[in-house]
Amino acid sequence: MALIELSGIERVFTLGDSAVHALANLDLGIEAGEYVAVMGASGSGKSTLLNLLGLLDRPDAGTYRLGGRDVTTLSADEQARVRRERIGFVFQSFHLVPRLSAAENIALPLMLAGIEPAERARRVGKALEDFGLANRADHRPDQLSGGQRQRVAIARATIMQPAVILADEPTGNLDRATGEEVVRLLEMLNASGVTLIMVTHDAALGAHARRRIVMQDGRKISDD
C-alpha cells in the first residue's frame, strides 16, 4: 500500500468571475521512502499540490489517503495533529521565528505536541549535534548564515520523526554551494527512510531525484 494516495483531486480557485483549475483530476501514488521532485513552471499547480499533501489546503473533490487513512474529511484540529506527527515542512524562506534561538526554533514542534521539557532538551540537543549546529544553539536566526538557517529549519522538520518531508524550493534562497550542502542533507535523511517530496523549478536539482513529476496547468504531464 502506498504511503500517499491521491485520487481524482480537484482544486479550483476563483479569481474574479473566472475559475482557475490549480489541480485537475489528479491521481498520484507515492511509496514510503521515495525521493520525488515536483517540477513545473510557476502557476503549474506544484505549490498547490504540496499544500494539499501537507494538509494546509483542502481539495474541492477527490480523496487523499495518508498511510491508508482518508485525511480529507478530518477536522482542522485533527489535520493539525496529523501534520505535527507525520509531516515535516522545509520552506524556501526558512520561516524561523526571529525572536527565538536556533534550539528554541527546533523545539517548536515538540512544544506544540506538549512533550515535556527534559525530553525536549534531549532530542533538541541530539538534533543540534546531528546537523552540526551544536555551537549555534543560542544564536537567533539573524545571527546565522543562510545555510545554517536552513539546517535549523530541516532539524525542526525532522524533530518529530515524520514519515514525509515536504520541501518547497529549499535551495531557492541559498547560493549554489550552500544549496548543494542542504540537498545532501535532505538526501541523507531520505536514505535513512524518510519520504522526501521536493518542489523545485531547478532542473539540476530535479535530476537528483529518483522520480520526477512535471506539472503543467494543474495536470501531471510526465512522471518517471
Binding site: 520561516h95 525572536r99 506544540l112
Partner: protein, 400 residues
C-alpha cells in the same frame, strides 16, 4: 501545548517587541493609576470629614432652634429662625435626662478684642464649664470657666489669640477688652487646628450669661448634648426632644440631630463622589482595553507568517488562540501591576503633600481597577486571538 509553554511563548512574544509592549503597559498603567489616585483622593476627603466629626466627640447630639422636616443634616438648619428661643434653662433641663452625661449651651458671635492697643476680630463662644470635656479640648495654661460663678467676667482664649495679642508673654491674669466689656483671662486653650469651619485657636470663650449680655440676646445658637454611651445616642435624642417639647408648651419647635446622621450624610455624599471619580477613571481603562485590541490586531498582522508556520508545524487553533490571549493578558497584567504601583506612589505623594488628607485608595477601588484591567485586556484580546486562530495556513505562510 502545555499552559506553561503557552505562557512562556507569549512572554517571549511580548518581550520581542519592547517598544510596543512598553507603550501598551504604559497606557494600561495610566488607567489603573488614575483609578487608584482619584479614589484615594475621594476617599481621603471622606475620611478627613469623618475624622473631623469624630473629633467633635463621639456620642454627640446637637439641638438646633427651629423645626426642620428632614431627618438628616440640612445646611438650612443653621439659619432657620425660631418661633421660640432655645435657652440656657432648656440645656439644664436636658442635663437631667437619664441617658445624658452632660450638656453645653452655645451662643456665638463676633466681636473685637483689644489688648495693649492691639486689636483683633475674634469669635466669641458663650458656654458652660462642661464645654471643655464635651468637645475633648485641652488647656495649655490656667483653668477653664468656673462652675461656681456663671456671671464671672472671665475668658478662656484660643492659642492663636494668645500668640497674636500677647506674644510669648503669659496671658493669664491679663485683662482683655471685648467690645465694651473687660474680662480677665483665666486660661489658654491648647492648639487644636481647624475643626469644621470654626477654628478653635481663634475663639474667646466666655460664660454663657456674659456672652448673651454682650450680644443682648436670650437665645442659644446650639445646645450640645453628650450621651452617656454611644449606644444611648438614640435614647438621648428621644429624651431631649421630649423634654424640650414639654418645656415649649407641647410644640416640637427644635431640631435634634445626632452626629451620626450628619456623619452618614457626609459619608454618603463623599462616598458617591468617590464612586463618581472611580467611574470617570474607569473610562480610561476601557480605552486601554481598546488599545489592547488594536495592539493585538497589529500583532496578528505582523506575525501572520509566524502563525502560518505554527499551523504548518501542527498547532491546533486553540493553541494559537491561547498564545495570543495569554499575550493580551500578560500585557494587561503588567499594566495593572505597574499602574497599581504608580497609583500607590501617587497616593503617597498626595499624602506627603497634604498630610491632613488620609489619601489611601479604598480596597474595592484597587480590586475593581485591577480586575477591570485584566478583564478588558482579555475581553478585547479574544477577537484578535480568534482571528489569528482562524487564519488560512496557506495564505498566512505566503506572507512575509
Amino acid at each position: 501545548m502545555t499552559p506553561t509553554d503557552t505562557l512562556r511563548f507569549a512572554t517571549r512574544a511580548a518581550l520581542g517587541y519592547p517598544l510596543r509592549t512598553f507603550l501598551m503597559v504604559l497606557a494600561m498603567s495610566i488607567g489603573v493609576a488614575a483609578v487608584v489616585v482619584l479614589t484615594a483622593l475621594g476617599d481621603g476627603a471622606r475620611r478627613y470629614v469623618v475624622n473631623e466629626f469624630a473629633s467633635l466627640g463621639s456620642s454627640l447630639v446637637i439641638v438646633l432652634p427651629g423645626r426642620s422636616e428632614t431627618g438628616g443634616f440640612n445646611p438650612v438648619n443653621a439659619i432657620t429662625s425660631t418661633p421660640r428661643d432655645l435657652t440656657v434653662e432648656d440645656g439644664m433641663a436636658i442635663t437631667r435626662a437619664p441617658a445624658v452625661l452632660r450638656t453645653a449651651p452655645i451662643t456665638v458671635g463676633t466681636s473685637e478684642a483689644v489688648f495693649n492697643g492691639k486689636l483683633r476680630d475674634v469669635t466669641i463662644v458663650g458656654t458652660t464649664p462642661d464645654y471643655l470635656k464635651l468637645r475633648r479640648m485641652d488647656l495649655a495654661q490656667g483653668r477653664f470657666l468656673p462652675a461656681e460663678d456663671p456671671n464671672a467676667g472671665v475668658a478662656v482664649i484660643g492659642a492663636r489669640i494668645q500668640s497674636e495679642l500677647f506674644g510669648t508673654e503669659s496671658a493669664i491674669g491679663k485683662v482683655l477688652r471685648i467690645g465694651d466689656r473687660r474680662v480677665r483671662i483665666i486660661g489658654v486653650l491648647g492648639s487644636t487646628g481647624q475643626g469644621l469651619g470654626m477654628n478653635a485657636d481663634e475663639v474667646v470663650i466666655l460664660p454663657v450669661a456674659v456672652a448673651q449680655a454682650m450680644f443682648n440676646t436670650n437665645t442659644l445658637f446650639r445646645i450640645l448634648v453628650e450621651a452617656k454611651d454611644r449606644s444611648l445616642i438614640e435614647a438621648a435624642k428621644t429624651q431631649t426632644t421630649e423634654i424640650l417639647k414639654a418645656r415649649h408648651d407641647g410644640e416640637e419647635d427644635v431640631t435634634v440631630i445626632t452626629q451620626d446622621a450628619v456623619l452618614a450624610t457626609f459619608d454618603r455624599i463623599l462616598g458617591t463622589l468617590t464612586y463618581g471619580v472611580a467611574g470617570i477613571a474607569a473610562i480610561s481603562l476601557a480605552v486601554a482595553g481598546i488599545l489592547v485590541m488594536n495592539v493585538m490586531l497589529v500583532a496578528v498582522t505582523q506575525r501572520t507568517g509566524e502563525i502560518g508556520l505554527l499551523k504548518a508545524l501542527g498547532a491546533e487553533g486553540a493553541a494559537i488562540r491561547n498564545a495570543f490571549l495569554a499575550e493580551a493578558a500578560l500585557l494587561s497584567a503588567a499594566g495593572a501591576v505597574a499602574g497599581y504601583l504608580l497609583g500607590q506612589t501617587g497616593a503617597f505623594a498626595l499624602r506627603t503633600a497634604m498630610p491632613v488628607l488620609p489619601a489611601f485608595p479604598p480596597d474595592w477601588a484597587v480590586i475593581a481597577a485591577l480586575g477591570k484591567a485584566l478583564s478588558t485586556g482579555l475581553l478585547f484580546g479574544v477577537m484578535p486571538a480568534r482571528r489569528a486562530a482562524r487564519l488560512d495556513p496557506v495564505q498566512a505562510l505566503a506572507k512575509k
